[in-house]
Subunit: 108 residues, 2 copies
Amino acid sequence: MKPGEALKCWHDVNMYMVHDEQPDLSVRQMAILLTIYLEAPPHTVRGLAKRLGVTKPVITRALNTMGRHDLVDRRRDENDRRNVLVQRTVTGALYLEKLADLIAEKAR
Amino acid sequence: MKPGEALKCWHDVNMYMVHDEQPDLSVRQMAILLTIYLEAPPHTVRGLAKRLGVTKPVITRALNTMGRHDLVDRRRDENDRRNVLVQRTVTGALYLEKLADLIAEKAR
DNA sequence: ACACATCGTTTCGGATGCGTATCATCTTTG
DNA sequence: CAAAGATGATACGCATCCGAAACGATGTGT
């Protein structure tokens, strides 16, 4: 894939997101969501903050927002009740599945 | 390209943007920037607003923000001085060139 | 038990973005 | 020329997000 084609694909997907997207996910929120769904669990607030190079409140707020849209879920870690385990949801999986199909289609 | 690969590529690029990006461009700003650089000029505020399906102030504000970072430039249309012609800059072209290379690399 | 460390959340002041409504400027029309 | 239309910018109130700091809850070590 050539850089020019890559940019056009990126543009197409961004345009789709601007038009369609119900909740307007920021780049950071998208990065968090994808990390949760693509990388191996468990996912904690601290871990995600370190992975993305942002502060903890950023993660907390993003989880609040995405949780409101049922894209992610939170649960206490019963082994160490200080931790919060971030978990996937059906809604989130469907959302990313749709996005994946869109990107794959535009990448052609 | 399969959906799973597409999503991973998307993730990689988003992660890079969160880590590196000096100005944190939103999805809308990115869509505007790419429209300016990929689609045929002339680009006006009204035209961009219609193209993206957002209101005019959204475009004005995005141009302010991106103009501060020298990613775009504005100029009066001398034929019809009501219009503002949005123009590309060297900084913006370099920025997108780097992004294009990154996407193309991650898409492999 | 007690002090200390760790984790997630909340608070604070400030910055930015949003849509609606309005404004200033310029152009076209009668 | 005056009125109407078009265009981009601005004012307003609201919502969200940011990082730093403080906080409550939980775990660890002595």
